[in-house]
């Protein structure tokens, strides 16, 4: 029966050859940091025989498997769905969050976007509010805390009106949807020279500010979420637009304007407090 395992093994070797037949050789300059209490540094790794059809994360898988075989700690990075929707993957690649292409996440980036012999610098998102957990993985729980502060509509399960009881103009619904597509990856913070979280927060504030269901808590919500955002230690917005340019879901900075408007309206003209 062992022969079966061997067959599978040899199949694997042939299969390995597929990836061995990749023709790209790269140098990775990777940020390694054992944990948040220890200082990190860049370490260079060769990435050899890389196929242009590999995704960026698959390329890291290949490098990691080689490291494991050598008994070295693999490069830790966050990833999960690998289809650009869960928001778990991050990576600052050659100076840009999610790499050189626009409107995609790192997991959707393929190696054909790089040149043979290129050196690729890979870093974690860098922000006080996103402390490094290990290597390229950072703690983005600040985003969760901001949402918890008020990013919801207070309805209990059951006892809600029929879904069609309130008509919502299509352009408004579409605009709310555009804001709602945020995947919470943190690229906006990573791209911003001030490590500001305004695009993320404003997307959530906007979605609910636009929908009729979000109106009762509209002014309370924006104040609560902004207060939490400030508490987390994000920087402030200088309207550079870098967040919008790097957002994998192309969230617009009009959301930020909308949030500002709501915030000032709340602070100067409304009764509600956070």
């Amino acid at each position: 029966m062992l022969s079966h395992i061997q067959t599978v093994n040899s199949k694997l070797t042939t299969a390995n050859c597929i990836h061995m037949s990749g023709n790209m050789n790269l140098t990775l300059k990777v940020w390694r940091q054992p944990n948040n209490d220890t200082k990190g540094s860049f370490v260079n790794y060769p990435a050899q025989n890389i196929s242009p059809d590999m995704s960026f994360l698959e390329m890291l898988d290949v490098v990691n498997e080689d490291l494991v075989k050598k008994g070295e700690d693999p490069i830790h990075f966050d990833h999960d769905c690998r289809e650009g929707i869960c928001g778990m993957c991050s990576l600052h690649i050659n100076g840009r969050p999610h790499g050189p292409k626009q409107a995609i996440t790192t997991c959707q980036l393929h190696m054909r976007s790089f040149k043979d012999d290129q050196t690729i610098t890979i870093e974690p998102w860098r922000a006080t509010a996103f402390p490094v957990i290990k290597d390229l993985a950072v703690d983005r729980s600040a985003f969760d805390r901001i949402q918890r502060a008020g990013g919801f509509i207070s309805v209990n399960t059951g006892g809600v009106p029929d879904a069609n009881a309130i008509a919502i103009p299509k352009p408004v619904a579409d605009e709310a949807f555009n804001s709602a597509t945020c995947i919470g990856c943190g690229a906006c913070v990573a791209a911003c020279k001030n490590a500001s979280a305004m695009l993320f927060v404003s997307a959530k504030v906007s979605q609910m500010a636009l929908l009729p269901q979000g109106q009762p808590e509209r002014y309370k919500r924006v104040q609560a979420m902004v207060a939490q955002m400030d508490e987390e230690g994000f920087g402030s917005c200088t309207n550079t637009g870098a967040c919008e340019a790097e957002c994998p879901k192309e969230i617009k900075i009009t959301n930020i304007a909308r949030m500002n408007r709501d915030f000032f309206t709340a602070k100067f003209f409304k009764q509600e407090e956070a």
């Binding site: 059809d53 698959e58 700690d73 690998r82 959707q108 949402q147 399960t157 879904a163 929908l211």
Partner: protein, 644 residues
């Protein structure tokens, strides 16, 4: 042990309301004395945690991701079914029930499915109230579209991101309860065992994935909302982290596993490009509305394609085989998922596969572009074409897409009764984690419906009954079972960390995936399954000798995480094979070579196999015991499906 599904008596349409009335209630003042543990924060987990906390229970919720919002429910594209009949096109609760039972090839419980259809209408109301931005029409009311396996338009959607929007809705409800202090959230925590005290689930053992600390948490009940196990195939459309560990550990603690071999293989995925491939990407099945599936007529032409000598567009019309249209003239390219998948595999096995790997068939839009114009095709499918281009670097407007089936969903899961309770009292399974309402094949847009139905509208009632029965007395966390279970977890981790062999865990995972795909994938035979069983047993032995697991427990250690999950997948793989061996019939996603009609179509055997196979763990390296829950069909007539 006799399986009791606890299906209420009475006419189908009254079962759930009667049952709700008969269930015991917990006094509002007593609810705060209970703690409920919810593992997993996808649609089922988030909705359950939020709803239970709203009722007044204390909830502890766990997820392995860095945020509850990232659970893989988020990746669902198409939509969610609900029997709203907003179209006035003849939909009803009964019709949704009927379509789902039939779509599942008559291997699901009538009562469960009817309840699912019944509460489906509440789900949409709930989500809209939470601010889920469903697609709307110009009049401001909700839009619908039609989906496979149904003749009515009952699918609600939010562009191609329905799962994301629904999950964010449930996540916001969960957030509100975290804010209120009713839910304590533990992200980056992986459940590694269930604590069973005197036969009842009373807690969990989890690992803090950042510090490595092994923690025990006590509660009056444990809800597993941990999703499916498609990653047993290594390549699937599941997220990289999706795993069976929570369910498998529960199984080892006494929860029966229902229909483990029922796997859904989705026909339209982007094919594998090489062995580096880590996951597969689904393309919405709506593409088959306008795309034509074909392969070259002869092996010789296919070989030329594989060698890159010619392009698809070079192949003459008469040299193409539109095999679905040829074999199923009435349904053509729109045959159900299982049929489409199986036929693609057949073509590839015959050596007519295309692409450099030869493991793909064409999905061609040339005719649609000719008929409708490129702009119309772009308007309909533009985002999918972009996605395809992004991944393959090929322009589907010019050359046909290459597609191949991929593992997508697992209908099997922990066996649960009508109350969603497993065979371990106090231990519940919700969503994809249970063996579910989908029988042997799930219809499109039904997974989201089931996850939310379980979490929002079923468990809040049924759990109360159990909690009222056991009483609000605090769970004794000093019971030796907690320390013993924790110790078992720690020992297993140490055993994994002691593995210093020469093969990476990924290599084992890939091997397992290949065995499962080859022998327990789209077509299964007794001979192949028996062969695979032995291969898996050997693989397991080899894993525990030669795997490499690096680092220590007390750190963020992805090497260790992966090892634990793969070890469980290997064990699950063997059970899947056992289950597939037992079921010598073809039904839904499960196609047994031995059971086919003369034309080579799936042949169901309702005489012998109209049951749920529930497997009981009997100990390390012991054969599992099979228990059968007979399926009674009182409302629908069982018929053989034909798509000719």
């Amino acid at each position: 042990m006799k399986l009791d599904a606890k299906i209420p008596e009475g006419p189908l349409a009254e079962k759930w309301s009667k049952h709700k009335f008969n269930l015991k209630l917990v006094n509002p003042a007593n609810k705060r004395k209970y703690t409920v543990i919810v593992v997993g924060t996808g649609l089922a987990g988030s909705s359950a945690a939020a709803s239970l906390a709203e009722l007044g229970y204390n909830v502890k919720a766990f997820c392995y991701q860095d945020s509850p919002r990232r659970a893989h429910s988020i990746a669902a594209q198409g939509g969610i079914n609900a029997a709203k009949n907003y179209r006035n096109d003849g939909d009803s609760v009964y019709r949704l029930f009927y379509d789902t039972i039939k779509g599942g090839d008559y291997r699901a419980r009538e009562a469960n499915v009817y309840r699912l259809a019944e509460v489906s209408v509440n789900i949409i109301d709930q989500c809209v109230a939470q601010g889920v931005p469903f697609a709307r029409e110009y009049g401001g009311l909700l839009d619908n579209r039609s989906f496979g396996g149904a003749q009515v338009s009952r699918t609600f959607y939010a562009r191609g991101q329905t799962g994301q929007q629904l999950l964010l809705g449930a996540y916001s409800a969960l957030n509100r309860q975290i804010h209120e202090g009713k839910v304590e959230m533990f992200s980056r925590h992986e459940m590694l065992d269930v604590v069973v005290v005197d036969g009842q689930a009373k807690g969990v053992v989890v690992r803090d994935m950042v510090t490595g600390e092994i923690e025990t948490h006590a509660g009056h009940a444990v809800l597993l909302c941990t999703g499916g196990y498609g990653n047993v195939f290594y390549l699937s459309t599941n997220a990289m982290g999706c795993n069976v560990t929570a369910a498998w550990r529960a199984h080892k603690r006494g929860a029966f596993f229902g229909n483990p071999c029922f796997t859904q293989i989705h026909p339209t995925c982007i094919p594998v490009t090489g062995d580096h491939q880590s996951k597969l990407t689904l393309m919405s099945e709506s593409l088959r509305n306008d795309g034509r599936v074909w392969v070259p007529k002869t092996k010789e032409i296919a070989a030329q394609i594989r060698e890159g000598k010619i392009k698809a567009s070079d192949i003459k019309e008469e040299d193409r085989d539109y095999f679905l249209e040829r074999k199923y003239p009435s349904f053509g390219n729109l045959v159900p998922r299982d049929v489409a998948s199986r036929n693609a595999k057949e073509m590839v096995d015959e050596g007519k596969g295309v692409g450099s790997s030869g493991v793909a068939v064409y999905l061609d839009f040339a005719d649609a572009i000719k008929r409708l114009g490129e702009d119309a095709v772009r308007a309909k499918y533009g985002n999918l074409f972009d996605m395809y281009y992004q991944i393959t670097d090929e322009n589907p407007y010019k050359e046909p897409m290459r597609i191949y089936p991929a593992v997508h969903y697992t209908m099997g899961g922990l066996w649960v009764d009508y109350n969603l309770q497993t065979t371990v009292p106090g231990l519940y399974a919700l969503g994809e984690a249970n063996f579910s309402d989908h029988g042997a094949n799930r219809l499109g847009a039904s997974a989201l419906m089931q996850g939310l139905a379980d979490g929002y509208f079923v468990i809040p009632y049924t759990l109360g009954d159990y909690l009222a029965t056991i009483g609000p007395k605090a769970v004794d966390a000093s019971h030796p079972a907690f320390a013993e279970t924790k110790k078992a977890v720690e020992e297993r981790i140490q055993k994994l960390l002691s593995l210093k062999g020469n093969k990476t865990v990924d290599e084992y995972h890939r091997e397992l995936g290949k065995i499962m795909w080859e022998y327990c994938g789209m077509a299964r035979s007794e001979e192949g399954l028996k062969k695979a069983k032995k291969m898996i047993q050997d693989l397991k032995a080899d894993f525990w000798k030669n795997a490499i697991v690096l680092g220590k427990n007390e750190e963020f250690n992805q090497s260790l995480e992966k090892a634990g999950r793969v070890a469980d997948f290997i064990e699950l793989g063997e059970l899947m094979i056992d289950d597939a061996l037992d079921r010598t019939e073809s039904c839904g996603g499960h196609f047994r070579i031995e059971s086919q009609t003369e034309e080579g179509e799936a042949k169901r055997d309702d005489e012998k196999y109209a049951y749920v196979a529930a497997w009981e763990y009997k100990g390390e390296n012991q054969a599992e015991a099979l228990h059968k829950e007979e399926l009674k069909f009182e409302n629908v007539k069982l018929t053989q499906r034909s798509y000719k």
